[in-house]
Amino acid sequence: MDYKALGLVDDEFDSIKDILGRLPNNLELAMYGAMWSEHCSYKSSRLHLAKLPTSAPYVVVGPGDNAGIIDVGDGIGVAIRIESHNHPSALEPHQGAATGVGGIIRDIFSAGARPMALCDALAFGEIIKRDDSLDNVLNNKRQNSWLLQGVVSGISWYGNSVGVPTVGGETVFDDCYTSNPLVNVLCLGILPLKRLVRGQATGDGNLVVMLGASTGRDGIGGVSTLASSGFVDDAYTKRPSVQIGDPYEGKRLIEACLEILDKNLIVGLQDLGGGGLTSAASEAATKGGVGIDIDVTAVITREAGMEPFEIMTSESQERMLAIVPPSNFSQVEEICKRWEINLSAVGKVTAPGADASPRFRILRGKETLADIPVRSLTTQAPLLDRPSSPPSDLHFRSQQDPAILPAPTSCGEDLLKLLVGNSWIYRQYDHQLFLNTLRLPGHDSALLRLRSPDILFSKKAVAVSVDSNSLWCSLDPYQGAAMTVAESALNVSCAGAKPLALVDCLNFGNPEHEEVMWQFKEVVNGITQACLDLSLVVVGGNVSFYNETNERDIEPTPVVGTLGLIQSLEQPLCDLKQIKGDSIVLLGELVDHLGGSAWAKVIHNHRTGHLPPLDLRFHADLIRLLTDLISSGIVHYAHDVSAGGLGVALAETAILSGIGCEVGTISSHGQLFSEAPSRVLVYTDQPNKVLSAARLSNFNLGSSSPQAQVIGEVDGEFIKIGNLVNLSLSKATSAFNLSIPNALGETVC
């Protein structure tokens, strides 16, 4: 077998020969090819990810296991994980996105948590193009629309059917994602902490049992040839590497596994994802410090004649690996039978040899097909410190600020173009199952009651938000990433929750390009700094490299998913229904700074400039002030100022509430559309209390301009902003709701 076809390079092949002391056979080579792929080994990123802050008293499980687990008190844990499925979705958007959902859900119940909610961060090339006259623009728009429709239908099909509501997320459009969309899926789970289980194998002689779907030829090479290389024009020949999902099998697996865990019948549980059985078994063995023997003849295959390497690297969906003490096997079998789940004991846990080096052996009956030191596949996989250097045009990017752009002839018309609502998307997702969704999608963050069939009487709630901004990160990856974390944390606090932890999904181009590696390192540093200053920890993440098409890398896109906690639902919550007649108070400064703004990008295709400054300590104060104001009932609603600036933030609240606004203070398009960080609109009938609370907090120190001011009120059927904007609410609402279906040429019932 040609090792290069498996994605291995010469140095790596030499290392394998050194480790084994002989030439690897084809099966062993396929196993190394999968495990040493970028996707499984994180070889380009591991070194840098080690900087991220990961521990806090409430972190039960941090990065590296199936899911991050947060202890929220009362014996309740929240599981969270995010993962990308970009390349499969680029080739076959429906199944690519569907299996992304399936994979992340398995990670959550692998930890003993019931999957409770999904959020997606999606990114596509532009679908709303004003200049359709050029053929390539039109073709790209068609392709982007096809990808959007396929991805949304895939998430809808799998998520709804498997019975996990999709409660939030974000969708962004930028031409850097043409041909290479981003599909990042976050799943939240809830568990009684006593049910927590790890993805590890322990106990000499315990059975290694596969549960769920049979093993087929789908997805072979997924991690190595699909996820760990860029696209060129023949990308569609890789379509057979995309797996096919079966949400019904997924649903029964959730129920069967949780029942098995409730009865305490197994010692470890691991899902089969990228790298298939090779990855699941070697990871579980590594974590438990043991060896594993697998007999390929015991694996239930979908068709006859499958080669051992196919069985060991298949990425067929809906499969789990459980480590079962032999005395419990019949009880596990009984539960699986009731849920119509197939199972097969495919191997055994083995004790490390005399040299304390656990082995991963693949057998066919009595014949040994492969014999590998387990850790050489996992923790001892190659570790690279790839060269990095800033992009040559970085200096140019920071020059040419949008301040040079002409003022709009009509701010109202520009505002309309920036209003892109997601209702066309989330209407296709079941977002209400389990009755925990305390507000509909479309706000800054999703707000969820923490309740499940196992945990009926909790008073707690969590907020979750996923955020990204590739334009910010292309101008300044360090500050752009820090601003992304800051925005995500602020979004969570807009629901009244205290931000605790985050997961990140780091989407980048080809790490063999020095400027991509530089962007990656800067982004990790930016996330690290923001976490330290905002008292957040990273409890999990995923790196997706090789997002490139024909050598063109995507802009750096760290997606951040932040989790916040509300201790008791008896405290006041935000309620949009109460804002009629309220004063609108801006917390944070009124500034005129358009660097990195959606206005410059969308209206003028202007992608250069310098980012407005970010003061993370000020931001931490703002979050504290905001959560205090909400929990004390002084504020009825809060909305952070982000993409599209104050103009979009004011319009969105008006559209969601159905009531217009009259705002006086804003006097220039720069103030209207600036995306300077650390700013929130709060809606209140007690503006003086808000202003005095802002004065009493540390909030005004070190700044000459006012940091909290009343800018207008909620009233009427128009969005009126100074002399700049006078839009009817109905016109803004239809622009907001119809922008996506209109671009797709669809009518809405």
Binding site: S153, S156, W157, N160, S161, G163, D246, P247, Y248, K251, R252, E255, W339, E340, Y426, R427, Q428, Y429, D430, H431, Q432, L433, F434, L435, T437, L438, R439, R449, P453, L569, E746, T747, V748, C749
Partner: protein, 226 residues
Amino acid sequence: MRTRQALNAGIVVFPGSNCEHDVALALNSVNVTTQFVWHQSCSLDGLDLVVLPGGFAHGDYLRPGAIARFSPIMKALVDFIDNGGVVLGICNGFQILTEAGLLPGALCKNKGLKFLCQNTKVRVCSNISPFTANLPIGTELDLPINHFSGNYICDTDTLNELESHGQIVLKYVANPNGSLHDIAGITNLDGNVMGLMPHPERACDELCSITDGMVLLNSLVHSLDS
């Protein structure tokens, strides 16, 4: 106020059902005790009410309800209905009841060929059956829908019979899915079996904003109690 023992409802769980816990919470909130009944069970003895909840019974890959109608519980369900037992099918439950021939007509894919999860307004059009006996005709309720196949169809004769016998219980005020005559929920001729596409259990909690589901469930409970 109720003085007798609480009503006892059975919620049938097929593999792939997913609204069973939500239905239990909603029924508990109107003082109905609940128990889950596995689809392979053969008995519905001792129950005052049987609910077929929403979800994707047996995956719904062929057609919603097409496999579920063959589950062992369905024979017991027919006997239960023949003996006058009251059955409520919500969403997938409605689809199963039509597939099993326990309600007339069928549910096709939505006009627009998309899954729809949204609030709808429905109007009570008949109060002959116990399900709406306590609601004035014309009452409007806010109830969420959550389905891909909620587009009700039947032939003209059936439609005429449904209309003339007062079997059309709920109609959409603004039709979201192309359903014939805006039909959102119907009963059988005897009025003891109802299917509806909206999810009343999703509208029973102040924290989730809408509570009209309780109006419907309370009406049913009141009828069964008296």
